[in-house]
Amino acid sequence: MEYNEIEIIKKCQAGNLDDFTLLYDAYVKKIYNFIYYRTQHKETAEDLTSRAFMKALEKISSFENEKGSFSSWLYRIARNSVIDYYRTKKHDADISDIWDLASEENIERDLDTKEKLKKVDEYLKNLKSEQREIIIMRVWQELSYKEIAEIIGKSEASCKMTYARALAKLKQEMPLSVLFLFILTRL
C-alpha cells in the first residue's frame, strides 16, 4: 500500500501516534533484515529491531523531513542500535557489526548463516565496516546509492571524490575481487 508517508508522520507528530503502526508495517521487515545482515543472529536481530522501533516512536516528533527521508532516518536508528549493541557487548568502539569480530569471539551467530557466508566472509572482512555496509545495502537490500548515502550520513559528492582518489592508488595493488568490492562502495 502506498501511503503518504509525510502525512502519516505529520499525524504522528500531531499526537495521532496510532498511525505509527502504518510506518511500522511498511518497514518492519526491511529494518529487521538490515539488522540481521549485521548480527547474523535471529534473536539479536529481533531484539534490536524492537529497540529501533521503540526509539523511532519516542523520537518521531524530532524527525525533520527537510533533513532527509524517513526511511534513512529509521535505518540510521537501526544502524546505531547495532553499533550500540556491539559496543556494550565488547566495550570496543571499532566493533560495528559481526564481521569486525574475530571468528573465535563468543558472539552468538546462526550456524546456517555462518556456513553460507563462508565464501564471501574473508573478503568482506577485509573491507572497512562502512564499505561492507554499502555492499550489503546495495547487493542484499537493493537500496540506491542515494538512500545509502543518506543512511550512512555522507554526501554523494564527497564520497565520489574520496573513492576516485583511493581507486587510482589501489588499482595496482588489489586482487580483482577486492577491487570490485571497493569500487562498488563508491557513491
Binding site: 501516534l17 529481533e46 516512536l57 553460507k116 542484499w140 580483482l176
Partner: protein
C-alpha cells in the same frame, strides 16, 4: 535479484573504471557469489505481530503520559471537516444540511422548535479504530451449537449457490456483476471440495462458458513451501460497531417538523438514509448507521445504458464488451485508487488494492471466446488488515473494501465495505501441530469429505509457505439474537501453481488455528452444517434470454457430506 540490478551495478563500476569491462565475466561471478551468499534472515511473521502489539502498547503509554490522547471534535458546521475525515462523517454533515434545508420549506407551527437546537455545540464522534484487549477466551467456544446457526446459514447459502451453479446461466442477463458473481461462486464452491458430486448435461451455455458445466473434479493439494512456525497463542478479534453516529443525528432531530413532532419520541437513533446525486454518472449513497457503514452505487438513471431499447441479439451484441476493451489491472487499480482519494475514504487499515479477475477463468476456458460475456465492471478489493494481519474468508478470498470499476466508462461505479468499527481482542490457544494444519491445507481447508466416485478430472495444486492471517467468522449470539463478526487466526497458504482448470480461481487456502474448529472438522462436522440431501429441482423450460436471469435445466443438487 533481477538482471536489471546486476546490470546497474556493473554500469556503476564501469563509470568508475571502464577498463573493468574486460573482466565482466569475473565481475559477474563475484556478484553472483555475493547474491548466493545472501543469508536467509528468518524473518518471523509472529515476531512482527508481537512487536506490533508492543508498539501499540507503547503508543498508549505515551498518549496517556503526555495527554496527547484527543477525541476528534467535529464541528458540524465546519466544512473543512469534510476534507479531513471519512466519508461517513461527511455523510452525517450532508444529512444534517439536508434536514436544515428541508425544514426551511416546511410549514412552521407555534410549537415547532429548531431541530438543530443543539447545533451550535460541537459533537464528539471518534473516528479512529480502537482495539480493546479483553480476557483470554472471552468470546467463548467457536464450535458451540450457537455457531451452528451461522454455519447453517452459510451452508444454506452454499446449497443455493450450488443449485445456481448446476443450472445453466443465461449470458447477458443481469450484466457483468451477475456473471462475475456466478463465476466466483462456482469457483469457490467447487474449489473447496475434494471430488465433488456435480454433473450437468452439456448445454449451449456450457459450451460458451466452460465454467458453467460442473463436473466431478478431484483437487490434489501438495505442500511445496518451507518450514514455518505457528504461535502458541493468537488474538481473536470481535468487531464492535461504534456507537454515536445514529444517536448524534437523531438528537438533532428533536423538533416539530410540522407533519410530526419528533419531541414525542424518546431515545431515538437514526438507522439509515440515502443520498442520490443528480448529475451525469451520479451515485447513490446508502448509509447504514446501525452498522456504521456506507455503500455507493450507480444512480442508474444518470448513467448511460448502451443496450437501452435493445430487443434483439444483434442490438445487444453491439454494446457487448470485447476482451480488448478490458484495461490492464494496473489501470483498473489506478481508477479505484483515484476514487478512494477523491472521496476521502480512509484505507490506512487496508492492504493494497487487488483486482478480482475470477471472470477470466471462464473466459480462458471457453472454446468459443467470441460468445463469452465480458464484464463491464471489475472489482478491486482492498483487504482489511487488523494489527497487520490480512483478513480473508473461509475460501481464502480477501475481504475488505470493494471498489467496482466500470471499465466501459473507466469510472468507479460502486464502493462497498466502508465503515467505522472498533475491535475487541481476546487471546486464544492455537493449534501448533504443523502436520495437522498441513493435513487440512492439503484438503483445501476445513471443508472435506465430498463424494469421490465418478471422478473425471484431477487438478493438481501447489501450496507455498503460509503466513499468519485472519479469517472472517460470523457467529450467532443466542443472548441478544444478533449476528456477530469475528476474525480468527489462520494460516494462509498461497496457491503457487495449479494445473489448468476453468473452475478454480482461489488464490489461497486458509486453515483456522482454533483447535475447537479443527476438532470439529475432524469429527466430520464443519460447524453444525445441515447435510443437503440429493434432490431434483423442478424443471422449467424456456430459452435463456439475455437479461432474463437464465433458463433453468434439470440439474442435480449437490451432494455435500
Amino acid at each position: 535479484m533481477d538482471n536489471k540490478i546486476i546490470d546497474k551495478i556493473l554500469e556503476d563500476i564501469y563509470l568508475i573504471d571502464n577498463d573493468l569491462r574486460k573482466n565482466e565475466k569475473q565481475l559477474l561471478k563475484i556478484i553472483n557469489e555475493l547474491i548466493i551468499s545472501k543469508p536467509d534472515t528468518k524473518f518471523d511473521d509472529n515476531f512482527a505481530v508481537s512487536l506490533r502489539k508492543e508498539v501499540l502498547q507503547k503508543v498508549e503509554e505515551m498518549e496517556n503520559v503526555s495527554k496527547l490522547k484527543k477525541e476528534k471534535l467535529i464541528n458540524i458546521f465546519n466544512f473543512n471537516f469534510m476534507k479531513k475525515t471519512y466519508l461517513i462523517g461527511g455523510g452525517l454533515v450532508i444529512c444534517l444540511l439536508i434536514i436544515v434545508f428541508g425544514l426551511n420549506f416546511l410549514p412552521k407551527s407555534k410549537t415547532q422548535t429548531s431541530i438543530l437546537s443543539q447545533a451550535s455545540k460541537t459533537e464528539t464522534l471518534d473516528l479512529k479504530t480502537k482495539i480493546a484487549r479483553v480476557d483470554s477466551n472471552a468470546f467463548g467456544n467457536f464450535s458451540t451449537p450457537a455457531n451452528g446457526a451461522s454455519q447453517a446459514m452459510n451452508s444454506a447459502s452454499y446449497a443455493n449457490d450450488q443449485m445456481v451453479k448446476s443450472a445453466p446461466v443465461a449470458v447477458g442477463g443481469g450484466g457483468a456483476n451477475s456473471l462475475m458473481a456466478n463465476s466466483r461462486s462456482i469457483a469457490s464452491g467447487i474449489a473447496t471440495s475434494k471430488p465433488l458430486g456435480l454433473e450437468t448435461a452439456p448445454t449451449a451455455d456450457a459450451k460458451m462458458i466452460a465454467g458453467f458445466a460442473p463436473q466431478f473434479i478431484t483437487y490434489n493439494y501438495d505442500y511445496k513451501g518451507e518450514d514455518f512456525t505457528i504461535p502458541a497463542q493468537g488474538d481473536v478479534y470481535k468487531k464492535i460497531i461504534k456507537e454515536g453516529a445514529g444517536k448524534v443525528l437523531a438528537q438533532k432531530l428533536n423538533g416539530d417538523l410540522g407533519m410530526i413532532d419528533l419531541n414525542k419520541f424518546q431515545n431515538t437513533s437514526m438507522q439509515n438514509f440515502s443520498i442520490s446525486e443528480d448529475r451525469e454518472f451520479g451515485y447513490i449513497l446508502n448509509f447504514d448507521l446501525q452498522n456504521n457503514n456506507v455503500s455507493i452505487y450507480q444512480n442508474w438513471s444518470k448513467w448511460p445504458q448502451p443496450d437501452k431499447g435493445c430487443v434483439d441479439e444483434a442490438c445487444f451484441a453491439k454494446s457487448r464488451m470485447k476482451i480488448e476493451d478490458i484495461p490492464a489491472d494496473t489501470d483498473v487499480v489506478a481508477i479505484a485508487n483515484q476514487a478512494i482519494a477523491d472521496y476521502g475514504i480512509d484505507i490506512s487499515g487496508y492492504g493494497e488494492g487487488k483486482v478480482n479477475n475470477s471472470w477470466r477463468q471462464s473466459y480462458d476456458a471457453a472454446t468459443d471466446k467470441t460468445n463469452v460475456w465480458i464484464p463491464d465492471t471489475i472489482s478491486v478489493v482492498y483487504p482489511l488488515k487488523i494489527e497487520g494481519k490480512e483478513v480473508s474468508d473461509d475460501y481464502g478470498n480477501l475481504t475488505g473494501i470493494s471498489v467496482d470499476v466500470n471499465v466501459r466508462y473507466k469510472k468507479m461505479s460502486g464502493i462497498q465495505g466502508v465503515g467505522l468499527s472498533d475491535y475487541q481482542a481476546s487471546s486464544y490457544n492455537l493449534e501448533t501441530d504443523k502436520e495437522r494444519i498441513l493435513k487440512f491445507a492439503k484438503q483445501g481447508g476445513l471443508w472435506s469429505g465430498y463424494m469421490t466416485y465418478g471422478v473425471k478430472k484431477e487438478v493438481n495444486i501447489e501450496l507455498g509457505t503460509p503466513t499468519l492471517g485472519l479469517i472472517a467468522n460470523w457467529k450467532y449470539n443466542n443472548d441478544n439474537g444478533q449476528g456477530e463478526n469475528y476474525y480468527i487466526p489462520a494460516m494462509i497458504f498461497p496457491i503457487t501453481s495449479k494445473s489448468d482448470d476453468a473452475f478454480y480461481s482461489r488464490k489461497s487456502v486458509s486453515v483456522p488455528l482454533l483447535k475447537e474448529l479443527l476438532d470439529q472438522a475432524d469429527a466430520g462436522n464443519t460447524g453444525g452444517n445441515p447435510i443437503p440431501e440429493p434432490m431434483m429441482r423442478a424443471v422449467e423450460t424456456g430459452a435463456g434470454v439475455s437479461g432474463s436471469g437464465g433458463s433453468i435445466a434439470p440439474a442435480p443438487a449437490p451432494m455435500v457430506k
